[in-house]
């Protein structure tokens, strides 16, 4: 698994009300949600985010509500991965279940700058700036999480498991 994009840098405790405010949640259309992604934290994000871009944040990313639309909004907006010092647990699970890679990196938030082009190489466990000046270590994705991400999320993962069961 690898991806390439630009860095969007955020701080600690980015909560789900900042990622997608509650007032937008009665419309489940992913494009609608993406058009308000990160609205509480950055007015520029939804307008300028491009496919492949990477969110780099501090501690406790995604704290607050269990709203899965927070992940839908980011994924639909084109975000290819979120790196953070730590994640709030429900956001982490939601991201895995919807196939958005979430990776713990103790130092990415301190090393990379906004807008910088980066390449993430999950198998090598690194994020590298395109200028090659900065490399950040990223923690390996645990196996029980990786197999869900590899399947593309929980729904395809369970479908594959059920199909295997039916074939036995």
């Amino acid at each position: 698994m690898s991806s390439k994009g630009r860095v969007w840098r955020f701080g600690d405790d980015v909560n789900t009300d900042l990622i997608i405010p509650g007032r937008y949640l009665d419309n489940y259309d992913p494009a609608h949600l993406a058009s308000h992604a990160m609205e509480g934290a950055s007015r520029q994000f939804a307008k300028n985010v491009r496919k492949g871009d990477v969110i780099v944040a501090g501690r406790n990313f995604g704290c607050g509500s269990s709203r899965e639309q927070a992940v839908v909004a980011l994924k639909q907006a084109g975000v290819s991965a979120v790196l953070a010092k730590s994640f709030a647990r429900i956001f982490y699970r939601n991201a895995v279940n919807l196939g958005l890679p979430v990776v713990i990196s103790p130092d990415a938030c301190d090393l990379f700058i906004d807008g910088e082009g980066v390449i993430i190489d999950m198998s090598e466990g690194v994020m590298i700036s395109e200028s090659r000046r900065v490399t950040s270590r990223i923690d390996p994705i645990p196996d029980h999480v990786r197999k869900i991400l590899d399947a593309g999320g929980l729904v395809p993962y369970i479908k594959e498991a059920l199909a295997r069961r039916a074939n036995v």
């Binding site: 900042l18 949640l25 406790n60 607050g64 709203r67 647990r89 479908k159 059920l162």
Partner: protein, 423 residues
């Protein structure tokens, strides 16, 4: 063998693995699976899975509470779809618009039981720890997986033991204890952990009060929060037949990651300021901030004893000119009892607005959305920027007593100055 925590015991039973330990990943089967309006999304993912039947519809609870009655055509259509879905799938534990908040109903209607594993598609599922269940939040797609497979992976958490001792001072309530804990732990101090409450003060704490403590633990990142079931809890289950599982306690020699001792008698009325739970201090620090809206309700503080305290302050007084007081009982039962006790009349006479049971304006969808520049003092659990409406509004969190005192003064005020000494 070393002793085991309550979390280890419940998750061992739910996963069928004897002696599962903190840090271990298990496949656990819930006793209850709760969802609210996001049942719309659960149903969508569930139909994609193509399994047809829910693994055990008798363990599924669906409650419409977040946007009730419907605030938009889209919400109304989602509600309609959910009503259809619960019929199709044979979900009998369905609570329609107006019955109350899901976390309130789990306990009030006796659905949650000591020793259970409860999964809820809501971050405040931790509330059910008040009766000795291990209750934790997940997302909607994951709930669809639970509906289909009857289990999910969980990492058994380490436990932080919080020992509460002493008696609360005049004007101080479980919410103040929670806000004090938030000042100690911060918004991620209990991330991935189970908080277990113990100590002499817990014995004196009502189930409503325990619900406040377990609810607010989510704001410190806790995966679950639990008060081991004691006689206060067990008396509720007398005559309800045998429990599906035994109530459990942590062993005295269990391994706890951390222990906190709190003398609750030293905690003053607390307020959390914008825009994060740990911007917290005693009410004096915030006194005098002008308030446009005061809100009493939610899964944190919308129960009968909250309305009793608030009404005692409001009785014979008026909400300040220029301030709105919005009261949302946590359930139909709470509303009925509050009517019987004359509390609703007191709130109305004081100039308050009473809205139907549900989540109310807490999540910023309706029923009291804030304008730019407005200030709300709320008995809810979150004061994130933009949570209740405009990003330029400010939310302060406090106990129902502090909210009521602030409503009559039109500014953040110390409840001790207006609260009878008997409460």
């Amino acid at each position: 063998m070393a002793g085991r925590t309550l979390a280890e015991k419940i998750l061992s039973r739910a996963s069928g693995i004897a002696d599962a330990k903190a840090g271990q990943i298990v496949e656990a089967a819930p006793d209850l699976a709760l969802s609210h309006e996001n049942t719309f999304l659960v149903g969508k993912s569930f139909s994609e899975l193509g399994v047809g039947q829910i693994w055990d519809p008798s363990r599924v609870v669906v409650v419409l509470d977040h946007r009730t009655p419907a605030n938009t055509i889209q919400t109304a259509a989602a509600h309609a779809r959910i009503r259809q879905l619960v019929k199709e799938l044979g979900i009998e534990k369905f609570f329609d618009v107006g019955e109350g908040i899901c976390h309130q109903l789990l306990i009030e209607r006796g659905l949650a039981k000591p020793g259970q594993l409860i999964l809820g598609a809501d971050s405040h599922t931790t509330t059910a720890g008040a009766i000795g269940a291990f209750a934790t939040g997940i997302g909607a797609t994951e709930m669809a997986g639970v509906w289909a497979m009857g289990s999910l992976w969980l990492k058994i958490p380490e436990t932080i033991l919080v020992s509460l001792n002493g008696h609360l001072a005049h004007g101080c309530f479980p919410k103040d204890v929670s806000l004090h804990l938030a000042s100690v732990l911060g918004p991620s101090g209990a991330e991935y952990k189970c908080i277990e409450f113990t100590g002499g003060h817990i014995i004196d704490t009502t189930i409503s009060g325990r619900m406040v403590l377990c609810n607010m633990a989510a704001e410190m990142g806790a995966k679950a929060a639990v008060v081991p079931a004691d006689s206060t809890v067990m008396v509720r289950y007398i005559g309800c037949g045998p429990l599906p599982c035994d109530p459990v306690q942590s062993d005295p020699d269990a391994s706890f990651e951390d222990k906190l001792d709190v003398d609750v008698s030293k905690i003053p009325p607390m307020v959390s300021g914008p825009h994060q739970i740990d911007k917290v201090g005693s009410v004096e620090k915030f006194e005098g901030v002008s308030v446009d809206q005061a809100f009493i309700g939610t899964c944190t503080n919308g129960r009968l004893e909250d309305l009793v305290v608030a009404s005692s302050i409001l009785k014979g007084r008026k909400v300040a000119l220029g301030c709105r007081l919005i009261v949302v009982p946590a359930s139909r039962t709470v509303l009925e009892e509050a009517i019987d006790m004359g509390l609703i009349q007191t709130i109305l006479s004081a100039g308050g607005i009473v809205l139907p049971p549900g989540c109310g304006p807490c999540l910023g969808a309706h029923e009291g959305v804030l304008a730019p520049g407005e200030v709300c003092i709320s008995s809810s659990n979150r004061n994130f920027r933009g949570r209740m409406g405009s990003e330029e509004a400010e939310i302060y969190l406090a106990s129902p007593a502090t909210v009521a005192a602030s409503a009559i003064m039109g500014k953040i005020s110390d409840p001790r100055e207006v609260l009878s000494n008997e409460l």
